[in-house]
C-alpha cells in the first residue's frame, strides 16, 4: 500500500506550454496542480527592488544590471511597467530569439518541481509537428529532456493532444480527438484505444489572436491577453474594439484549426474504423472564454466534418488538462 502510494506521488505530469507551465501530481487528496506563467520581465537592478521581491517571495534572478522576474508575477510587473512580458517559448517551442529562454524555463521548473529522485516517472508535453511538416521539434524536446534529467527525473515526452485524450476520454476507452488550444499552437491528436493515430499542430493560437487583436486595436498584446482571459466571451454583441477584434481573430483561428483537421483526415492513410461516433474535447487557455465550445461546434457543423462525433465539449479543467493527461501517462507506466 505504502509503496504504491509512494510511486503514485512520485509520478509527475508536466505541461510545458508557451503561456504556462503546469505540473500535476496525484496524492491521497486526488490530483494536485501547480502552474506558473511561462514568461518573465526585466526590471532595472536596485537593491531596494531585490529586497522587496525577496520579502514577497517573488521568483527572480539577477543578471548584470537587471532583475528578471519570472512566473506569475511577471505579468503584474509588465502591466505596471507598461511593457510586454518576455517569453522563453514561442509557437510551442523554445524561443530562438530569446537568449534567456533555457535558464528561465529551468528556474520555473525548479520552482514547480523541486528535486526529483531516481525512478520518478515524469511525462512532459511536447508540441506535435506543424501540419504538413515532417520534422518534429527535436532541439526543444531534447533540451527539455536534458534539463529534467539534470533535475533528477526520468522524463518521457507526450504530444499535447494525446495528453488531452488521456485526461478526458476514459469513457470512450481513450478513443477520440483531443485538442489543446494553447498560446503558441493548437495541438490536435486523434487516438484510437489510447494509440495516437495522428498528431499535428497549427500555428494560429492564443498568441496569434492576442497579437492580431492588439495590432487592430492599438493595445499591448499583454493587455489584450489579460482582457481576453478576464471578461471576453462569445455571446452577444461586442461593444469594445478589443472584444470585436478578439471575436474576429478567434473565428479565424477556429476555422484554421478545423480546416487543418479536415485536411489531416483526408490525407492520413489507414485510419481506424470507429464503430461508433467519437468525442472531441477542447482544452487550453485559449478555449477558456465563455461560449468557445459552442462557437467551435457551430463552425465545425458548417464545415461538414468527415468523422461522426458523439460530442464536442470543453475539458473539465481546461488549464490543467494537458498536465493531467501527462500524469496519467506517467502513472500508467509506473
Amino acid at each position: 500500500m505504502s509503496t504504491e502510494q509512494t510511486n503514485h506521488t512520485g509520478a509527475v505530469g508536466l505541461d510545458i506550454g508557451t503561456s504556462r507551465i503546469v505540473t500535476a501530481r496525484h496524492g491521497q487528496q486526488g490530483y494536485r496542480y501547480r502552474s506558473e506563467l511561462n514568461a518573465f520581465v526585466s526590471v532595472p537592478f536596485s537593491k531596494l527592488t531585490e529586497i522587496a521581491l525577496r520579502k514577497d517571495n517573488v521568483p527572480y534572478a539577477v543578471r548584470g544590471e537587471e532583475i528578471l522576474v519570472h512566473g506569475n508575477e511577471a505579468e503584474k510587473f509588465a502591466d505596471l511597467l507598461e511593457v510586454n512580458t518576455r517569453r522563453p517559448m514561442h509557437l510551442g517551442i523554445l524561443n530562438p530569439a530569446e537568449p534567456d529562454s533555457l535558464p528561465r524555463i529551468r528556474s520555473l521548473l525548479e520552482l514547480l518541481l523541486g528535486e526529483g529522485s531516481a525512478g520518478h516517472e515524469l511525462y512532459y508535453s511536447t508540441p506535435a509537428p506543424l501540419l504538413g511538416a515532417t520534422d518534429g521539434h527535436t532541439y526543444h524536446e531534447e533540451s527539455v529532456r536534458r534539463m529534467l534529467m539534470e533535475l533528477g527525473f526520468q522524463p518521457k515526452s507526450i504530444h499535447e493532444g494525446l495528453a488531452v485524450v488521456y485526461a478526458e476520454m476514459e469513457n470512450s476507452n481513450y478513443s477520440g480527438i483531443g485538442i489543446s488550444c494553447g498560446g503558441g499552437l493548437c495541438n490536435v491528436c486523434l487516438a484510437y484505444l489510447a494509440v495516437p493515430v495522428f498528431s499535428f499542430s497549427t500555428a494560429k493560437a492564443g498568441d496569434y489572436i492576442d497579437a492580431s487583436a492588439a495590432a487592430a486595436s492599438g493595445e499591448l498584446a499583454t493587455r489584450v491577453r489579460i482582457c481576453k482571459e478576464s471578461n471576453f466571451h462569445f455571446n452577444g454583441r461586442q461593444q469594445e474594439k478589443v472584444h470585436q477584434a478578439l471575436n474576429i481573430y478567434y473565428d479565424e483561428t477556429i476555422r484554421n484549426l478545423i480546416g487543418a483537421m479536415k485536411e489531416a483526415f483526408s490525407t492520413t492513410r489507414s485510419l481506424p474504423r470507429f464503430n461508433r461516433p467519437i468525442p472531441m474535447v477542447l482544452s487550453g487557455g485559449t478555449a477558456l472564454p465563455r461560449g468557445f465550445a459552442a462557437r467551435f461546434e457551430e463552425i465545425l457543423r458548417s464545415a461538414e466534418f468527415p468523422v461522426p462525433l458523439s460530442e464536442v465539449r470543453l475539458a473539465a479543467d481546461p488549464l490543467n488538462t494537458t498536465a493531467k493527461g501527462a500524469l496519467l501517462a506517467a502513472l500508467s507506466e509506473s
Binding site: 518534429g136 488521456y166 481513450y174 484505444l193 494509440v195 495522428f198 500508467s332
Partner: protein, 383 residues
C-alpha cells in the same frame, strides 16, 4: 498477408482489447492496459506462410503510429509489457462424479447416461511418457496416467444429417471407424448420432496429437500422443465456419468428458482442442493442425472456456504464430494467444531481457527437452 486480412485481424484484436478495457474501472489501470495491449498488438509477429522467408508483418496498429514515433508511443520499454488486466481469474474446477453401471465385452454404461461401444477397441503401445516440471523443464517424471484430453475433428466426409440419409450416414460412420481403428488414431470417436466408440485402449497411446505441447500449473507435456487421451468428433471444418455438431454429439461429449475426468482425475485446464496444442517444431509455429481452433463447445461439454487459457506453446516453448492460424482462430483463442504473449513479455521485463531473446531461450529449452525424450524413449525412469 493481404490488406483485407490484416484489417480483419486489427479489427478483431481491437474489439477484444476494447472489451477487456471496459471492464477496468480505474482510469489509470484502463489506460495502462490499453497502452500495453495495443503496443503488443502493434508488434505481434505474423509470418505469412506463403512466403519462404520470415517477413515481419506488423499486424495491428503500427499502421496507425507513423506520426507519433519518438514520443510517447515510440518509447515502449520492450515488445510487450505486463498488463494488469490480462490475468485470468482462477477457475473453480469441480470434478464430476460418474461411476460405471455395467460392463460387457461389447459395451459399457455409466451413471451419467454414457454408453460406450467397444466393438472397435484395439490395443496399441502402452502409455508411458515424461512429464517435465513446468518451471524450467529441468526435472522430469515418468508417468502412466493420462494427464488430459485433446478434442479433434475427424475432417471426414459428411452427409446431410437427415432421416433419408440414414443408411449413408451409418455407412460413412463405419468406414471412418475402420479407418481410425486401423491407424490407432484416437481413443474415442463420437459419431454423428452421438454414439461413443472406444477405439484405442485407454491404457495405451494413440496417434492423435503428433507434435504438440501443453502445460498445466505444475507440469509440461511434449508430444501428447501418450500423455493425453484423444477424443474425435465426426465433423469437419468448413472454410470460414466452425465445425458443426449434432445435439447428440454435444451431449455425448459432455458425458464422455465427465467420465474420463472422474476416472483419471483430469483437471479441467487439461481438456483442450487439437489446435491449442499442435505445433510445428520445424518452423517453430503453432497450429500445425487447426481443428477446433474455434467453436468447440466447452460450456456444453461441462468445461470452462479453455480457449482463453494462455497458450503454453507461446509462453513456455518459444513458438510463434502465423496468419493462417489467426485466420482459423476464434476470438477466445486469440485471447489465449494474447494472454500468453503478455505473460512472456512480463517475464522478459522481470528478467531484464527482450521478449525475443527470452523466446529464443525457451526454444532452446524445448529442443533440449525433446532431445532428452528421444534419448530416453521407452525407458521408465524416475526423475
Amino acid at each position: 498477408m493481404g490488406t483485407g486480412l490484416r484489417t480483419l485481424h486489427i479489427y478483431r484484436y481491437s474489439r477484444l482489447v476494447e472489451r477487456r478495457a471496459s471492464k477496468l474501472i480505474d482510469p489509470v489501470e484502463r489506460l495502462r492496459y490499453l497502452r500495453q495491449a495495443m503496443r503488443a498488438g502493434a508488434k505481434v509477429r505474423v509470418v505469412d506462410l506463403g512466403r519462404a522467408a520470415n517477413c515481419m508483418i506488423v499486424l495491428a496498429l503500427l499502421v496507425l503510429l507513423p506520426l507519433s514515433m519518438g514520443t510517447d508511443a515510440g518509447q515502449a520499454r520492450s515488445l510487450v509489457q505486463p498488463a494488469a488486466g490480462i490475468e485470468l481469474p482462477p477457475q473453480e474446477d469441480i470434478m464430476p462424479v460418474v461411476w460405471q453401471v455395467e460392463s460387457a465385452k461389447e459395451a459399457e454404461s455409466y451413471s451419467n447416461g454414457l454408453r460406450i461401444d467397444n466393438r472397435y477397441r484395439v490395443a496399441n503401445q502402452p502409455r508411458g511418457y515424461w512429464a517435465f516440471e513446468r518451471a524450467d523443464l529441468g526435472r522430469k517424471r515418468w508417468r502412466r496416467d493420462p494427464a488430459g484430453i485433446v478434442f479433434h475433428t475427424t475432417e471426414s466426409h459428411l452427409s446431410p444429417f437427415e432421416a433419408e440419409q440414414n443408411h449413408k450416414l451409418k455407412r460413412v460412420g463405419q468406414w471412418l471407424l475402420e479407418y481410425v481403428r486401423q491407424n490407432r488414431s484416437y481413443h474415442f470417436l463420437i459419431d454423428r448420432f452421438g454414439r461413443v466408440h472406444r477405439v484405442v485402449e485407454e491404457s495405451d497411446a494413440a496417434h492423435h496429437a503428433g507434435h504438440s505441447v501443453w502445460a498445466d500449473q505444475d507440469w509440461a507435456y511434449l508430444n501428447l500422443n501418450a500423455s493425453f487421451l484423444g477424443v474425435a468428433l465426426e465433423t469437419r471444418t468448413e472454410p470460414g465456419a466452425t465445425p458443426g455438431l449434432t445435439p447428440a454429439q454435444t451431449h455425448a461429449t459432455r458425458m464422455l468428458t465427465e467420465m474420463l475426468r472422474h476416472k483419471h482425475r483430469i483437471a479441467a485446464v487439461n481438456c483442450l482442442t487439437h489446435a491449442q496444442v499442435s505445433v510445428n517444431p520445424r518452423n517453430m509455429r503453432i497450429g500445425n493442425h487447426v481443428d477446433w481452433a474455434g467453436g468447440f463447445p466447452f460450456a456444453p461439454a461441462g468445461l470452462p472456456d479453455n480457449y482463453a487459457l494462455p497458450l503454453p506453446s507461446l509462453e513456455l516453448f518459444g513458438f510463434e504464430y502465423d496468419s493462417t492460424f489467426i485466420r482459423a482462430s476464434g476470438e477466445s483463442l486469440l485471447q489465449g494467444m494474447l494472454a500468453a504473449e503478455q505473460r512472456l513479455g512480463r517475464e522478459a521485463l522481470e528478467s531484464g531481457m527482450t521478449p525475443a531473446s527470452l523466446r529464443g531461450q525457451r526454444r532452446d529449452r524445448y529442443q533440449r527437452a525433446l532431445a532428452e525424450m528421444a534419448d530416453s524413449a521407452g525407458q521408465e525412469k524416475g526423475s
